[in-house]
């Protein structure tokens, strides 16, 4: 931003909808995918590799006329725990929060264990969120007790 003579929005403002800011640049398309934003009718504005105070490069996603439910916010938290969620109504910020990693997550991710009861009966998955010493998130299945790590996470 410092090199820009005029303060202007790289990604234009929206009247109503949600802004996901401070997404690590490398995760922007992953977030798009898990929230199925690549497959909706709403207008979606994407910026990536933008300069950021928080990171070297950040991404931003703005979705017109869409407000995320908790289950969707949980998914964002697993992929981009640094993200900020901003809800806009009538060009004004009506709600803003830092996405927080939940301690428990229900129904968003598939258990990695094919023999887990949740993959064989009509039962919602449920996990306790654990953190590796290196900060990497992993999920322990509430039912079969197996660990699903980041690289094995399949979102439902």
């Amino acid at each position: 931003m410092e090199n820009q003579p005029r303060k202007e929005l790289v990604v234009s403002a929206i009247e109503n909808g949600t802004v996901l800011d401070h997404i690590p640049a490398k995760s922007v398309f992953h977030v798009m995918k898990i929230l199925a934003l690549d497959n909706i009718e709403n207008q979606v504005l994407i910026g990536t590799n933008l300069d950021s105070k928080k990171f070297d490069k950040k991404g931003i996603i703005k979705v017109r006329d869409k407000f995320f439910i908790n289950k969707e916010v949980n998914k964002i938290a697993l992929i981009a725990p640094s993200a900020t969620l901003i809800e806009i109504r009538n060009y004004k910020v009506t709600y803003k929060k830092q996405v927080k990693t939940p301690t428990e997550i229900t129904g968003s991710v598939k258990c990695v264990n094919p023999n887990c009861i949740t993959n064989n009966e009509n039962i919602s998955s449920k996990f306790t969120v654990l953190k590796n010493p290196d900060g990497e998130l992993k999920l322990q299945c509430h039912y079969c007790e197996k660990i699903t790590d980041r690289k094995n996470m399949k979102f439902i």
């Binding site: 009966e121 039912y143 079969c144 660990i147």
Partner: protein, 302 residues
């Protein structure tokens, strides 16, 4: 413990394990009592496990409980496509407690959460089998007079054996020194070893069974299954290396006892059976007393 389900060994505290073991030793002295006359125990075996089912049914029968259930899902409504949820909700109308064996991991936790009556997990896939762990602890305490500060060897398939994983985790609160004997392919997984490391306990790893025998108080043998090896040549190389024969026990400690979760195939030679150090059949018998202790504690009778 009244009305509580037992899905994983960690659902009960160490103090509660000890209470169960103490109660089990009372039942050992007096196993036939008419104290569950008014109770119905359901044994739902979605996959066959004759040994575990008979042990539970014997435990319940000796206390005069009535038993309902099935021994294999092909003879139940599961075959018609009934969900686990519906089976549990239905059977809970007919019984005061459910003992359940199921081939899928997590099934017992799920059942315990939907069932209005307590559930005892008699094995959920490769996950948990807490009553086996308790009867193993009972057998160790009975033969050694204590649970603390013992040298315990685990032999054979340490990678896939859920019995080994649960018992290792349980023993970590008793200051055990672990001796882990297995082929390289079947070493104890790191997530189980973590329990040992977290408690700063000592463990030794071996590939040779002979080395460990003179060192230990308990020799816990397990079966090595051919299908666990990706390379059949590897299996052929190791298959005879973990077979216990009577002559190998010459330098063992006097108090050594040999345990095995059974069924045995060939990993303990039959010439060991007559050695007083062989304890695996009594170990199976102890399972009845431990299950009596669990049924009566959870039903609130003891």
């Amino acid at each position: 413990m009244k009305n509580r389900s037992l899905v994983s060994i960690n659902d009960f505290s160490k103090e509660e394990w000890i209470k169960i073991l103490d109660l089990a030793s009372e039942f050992e002295k007096n196993p036939t009592q008419k104290i569950l006359e008014d109770y119905v125990v359901a044994t739902l075996f979605f996959e066959p496990s004759t040994r575990t089912r008979l042990s539970f049914e014997s435990a319940a029968s000796r206390l005069s409980a009535k038993i309902v259930g099935f021994s294999d899902s092909s003879s139940s409504s599961v075959k018609k496509g009934e969900s686990l949820n519906d089976t549990i909700l239905t059977v809970s109308n007919y019984s005061d407690i459910i003992v359940m064996r199921h081939p899928q991991e997590g099934s017992a936790r799920f059942a315990s959460e939907v069932s209005p009556v307590p559930v005892i997990n008699a094995g959920d896939g490769a996950n948990q089998h807490p009553t086996q762990t308790l009867l193993d602890l009972y057998s160790i305490r009975k033969t050694q007079g204590k649970l603390n500060d013992l040298n315990i060897a685990f032999v054979g398939d340490l990678k896939y054996g859920r019995t080994v994983h649960s018992l290792v985790a349980a023993l970590c609160v008793f200051n055990t020194t672990f001796h882990l004997v297995s082929p390289v392919e079947l070493k104890l997984p790191s997530y189980v070893k973590k329990h040992i490391k977290d408690k700063n306990l000592t463990y030794h790893q071996y590939t040779n069974l002979k080395d460990v025998i003179p060192e230990v108080d308990i020799l816990y043998m397990t079966r090595i299954q051919k299908e666990r090896f990706s390379d059949p040549i590897e299996y052929e190389k190791v298959k005879n290396a973990y077979i216990l024969e009577n002559s190998m026990l010459d330098n063992s400690k006097d108090n050594l006892k040999i345990l095995h979760p059974l069924p045995r195939v060939n990993e303990i030679h039959e010439d060991v059976d007559k050695n007083p150090k062989a304890y695996y059949f009594q170990q199976a018998q102890n399972g009845v007393y431990v299950r009596q202790a669990l049924l009566t504690s959870i039903l609130g009778v003891k």
